[in-house]
């Protein structure tokens, strides 16, 4: 039995056992569950009828609003706070707000349409047809944000329900009337102290489309991002990791447009990892001069995601052999996802690739070099466990992993690089085999280093074949590559790309 099948079988058994535990919870009974669904549906229908009735009165309301409200702020400015509506479930506002991560119930409506009272009221009473953000009675709702955003018009409505803050995002095309905003989207993201919504710019779900309906997401020009936090907060956004020309890694945070605790901005679509919906972009809140934790910005809608095409590249160095284009892509994307650019725009080159012995079997390894916009180089190495009878080229990515990444200054020449990567490969019964894979210019004849092997101090020397060699086991941090007239001393072993590239939480 292979390590993979062992893990899969073990995982199956544990999932079934865990699911059984889940089924033993003394929660709501089946009849109560149905009653709850039917009651919520009745509430939804009543709300829909109320909205339709309100629409019939729109002309009158629009005519009267200026008279009733006096001097309201023009569109684009923050509206005056209104009284927090009383809770319909008997819980006091204070006790609710004390438990809420974001105190939006007493915050003013923000956004470019905040001053349009009729519009705000129509959005506040609009039907909540998606309940993944919870549900609040109309009387308990407030509009936290409503306004024009790049490519459309969005709104965030919040409402108290018990001790929680329910919320619903609405989206619509540019200039949409309140009744044209659609709440069918499932995408909801709340990060504790801010509400976040991220969609491809101009993306709108057609009214009445079934839940879960998505759009094939092969290429995104730009993303629209809205963050709603506490008034007074500054929302800072960083769209990607930057690798400087000298190989140093950093992130630049800049205040996002919007102000007063709201960010309405766009990000280039290239920051999106289309295989997972995550992005290289992050944000943080600055409150009272103190920056909070860094949070990721990922797609809020379950769009259909796609992998980028494989990278079918010939390795540069002699002694290499072709490996799966999927493995090359995997190694490249692990870097590209942090720096927010498609891998194929980073001039990917396969420094070395081929099969390597690992335990009783083999792995296929790809060392991929990517040129950053600054000129710096990032080299990332990945492996895939080979199954008996398949070549490195045909090895599927059934068991794949990273062997570490490293950065080099813009002056570095790919052909001259010496790389030592550490692959932790699954073995039998879940054990791990550590394999070091080294590659240097063919002039290098040996690589050597020192560290520990088990509990013992150990030094080692590996004879290189055309600049390539591997070593099993041990714990080593550096290696030296030596040949006639050639010496690269104490080269650090590559480390996890997430650590190298300061990718932040993902």
């Amino acid at each position: 039995m292979t390590a993979d099948s062992t893990l899969e079988n073990d995982l199956r058994a544990r999932l079934h056992a865990a699911a059984e535990h889940g089924a033993w919870h003394p929660g709501m009974g089946d009849d109560a569950a149905v009653d709850d669904v039917l009651e919520r549906r009745r509430v939804q229908r009543r709300t829909r009828v109320a909205v339709l009735s309100a629409a019939a009165c729109t002309a009158l309301v629009v005519a009267m609003v200026p008279l009733l409200l006096g001097a309201t702020g023009p569109a684009g400015q923050t509206a005056t706070p209104s009284a927090v509506p009383p809770s319909s479930d008997g819980v006091t506002d204070e006790s609710i707000q004390a438990q809420l991560p974001v105190d939006l119930l007493s915050a003013p409506t923000r956004g470019s349409l905040a001053g349009d009272a009729a519009y705000v009221e129509a959005v506040r009473t609009a039907d909540w047809t998606d309940l993944s953000g919870g549900f609040a009675q109309v009387a308990d709702r407030r509009v936290a944000f409503v306004g024009d955003v790049p490519g459309g018009r969005w709104a965030l409505v919040v409402g108290q329900t018990g001790g929680r803050l329910a919320h619903q995002w609405f989206t619509g095309p540019p200039g949409a009337a309140a009744g044209e905003l659609v709440a069918d989207r499932s995408g909801v993201e709340s990060e504790g102290d801010a509400f976040v919504y991220v969609l491809p710019t101009g993306s709108h779900q057609a009214p009445g489309s079934p839940p879960g309906a998505g759009t094939e997401l092969t290429e995104v020009d730009e993303l629209t991002v809205v963050v709603v936090a506490q008034p007074g907060d500054v929302v800072q956004v960083s769209d990607r990791v930057v690798v400087e020309a000298d190989g140093a890694v950093s992130r630049d945070f800049v205040p996002a447009p919007g102000g007063d605790g709201v960010a309405v901005t766009q990000l280039p679509g290239t920051v999106l990892d289309t295989s997972e919906g995550s992005s290289s972009a992050v944000f943080r809140l600055v409150r009272d001069g103190t920056a909070g934790p860094v949070r990721t910005l990922g797609l809020s809608d379950p769009l259909v995601l796609t992998d980028p095409p494989p990278l079918d590249l010939r390795p540069l160095r002699p002694g290499s052999s072709d490996v799966s284009p999927d493995l090359v892509r995997f190694a490249a994307v692990e870097v590209a996802r942090h720096v927010g650019l498609p891998a194929d725009q980073l001039d990917p080159q396969v420094l070395w690739s081929g099969p390597v012995s690992a335990g009783d079997g083999q792995i296929s390894v790809a060392m991929v070099a990517l040129r950053m916009p600054s000129g710096a180089l990032v080299v990332n190495t990945a492996y895939a466990v080979m199954t008996p009878g398949t070549s490195a080229r045909d090895t599927p990515l059934s068991a794949v992993g990273g062997c570490g990444a490293e950065t080099h200054a813009e002056t570095a020449v790919v052909d001259d690089l010496a790389v030592l990567s550490r692959c932790s490969v699954p073995g039998d019964l879940g054990a791990r085999e550590t394999v070091y894979v080294g590659s240097a210019p063919p002039v290098a004849q040996e690589m050597r280093g020192a560290g520990t092997y088990g509990s013992d101090e150990a030094s080692w020397v590996v004879r290189l074949d055309q600049g390539h060699g591997s070593l099993a086991g041990g714990e080593y941090d550096t290696a030296s590559f030596i040949g006639p007239g050639y010496a690269l001393l104490d080269q650090p072993v590559a480390v996890d790309p997430a650590d190298v590239l300061l990718g932040g939480p993902r």
Binding site: S132, P211, P302
Partner: protein, 175 residues
């Protein structure tokens, strides 16, 4: 919706809800959110019930809604809540032991990756069936599955030949 349709919906819930709760528990990671997840999925299904049952068995539809709701449901729980589960101390059938290591490992996976794991290795769906249910390509399922297994390999204690599957009684309770 007619009373007959409501009754059919009630029968469907009685027959399938327990299975949905099991899947939802693996997706959500705790009882409370699993129950919420199932309720939302049932509510969404009820909105389109007449159309759903006109196409045949609604189970696949509900399961799809359950998964798509889960994958979009990035709740505030991640940073603000701690799940504390207690079972009543009273006599009753044995309660399966909770596999905290597995649940923690699942929680570290992105929602779509977690869904792939649950569908492939709990529901035992094929890659093609998983892709169809999640509305993505088979290649995406393969990639997500590979990445998930790579991560789980690091997070889960390897199975020993004599390691018992955690189904033994830990504390008395009731279903």
């Amino acid at each position: 919706m007619s009373s007959d349709e409501d009754e059919a919906f009630r029968d469907f819930v009685a027959g399938q809800r327990r299975a949905l709760l099991r899947t939802a528990y693996l997706l959500a990671g705790d009882h409370g959110h699993a129950e919420d997840l199932v309720q939302v999925a049932l509510l969404k299904t009820h909105r389109h019930w007449a159309r759903v049952i006109s196409r045949g068995d609604p189970t696949a539809y509900v399961r799809r809604v359950l998964v798509t709701t889960h994958t979009s449901w990035r709740r505030r729980r991640a940073s603000t809540e701690q799940v504390l589960e207690t079972m009543p101390d009273q006599a009753g059938p044995a309660v399966p032991e909770r596999d905290d290591e597995l649940l923690h490992a699942l929680r570290t996976l992105p929602p779509r990756m977690r869904a792939v794991v649950v569908l492939r290795f709990y529901e035992d769906l094929s890659e093609a069936q998983t892709a169809e249910l999640m509305g993505c390509s088979v290649g995406t399922v393969k990639t997500q599955s590979s990445r998930a297994m790579a991560r789980l390999r690091d997070l889960l204690t390897p199975a020993a030949p004599d390691r018992p599957v955690p189904t033994t009684s830990r504390k008395a309770g009731r279903p």
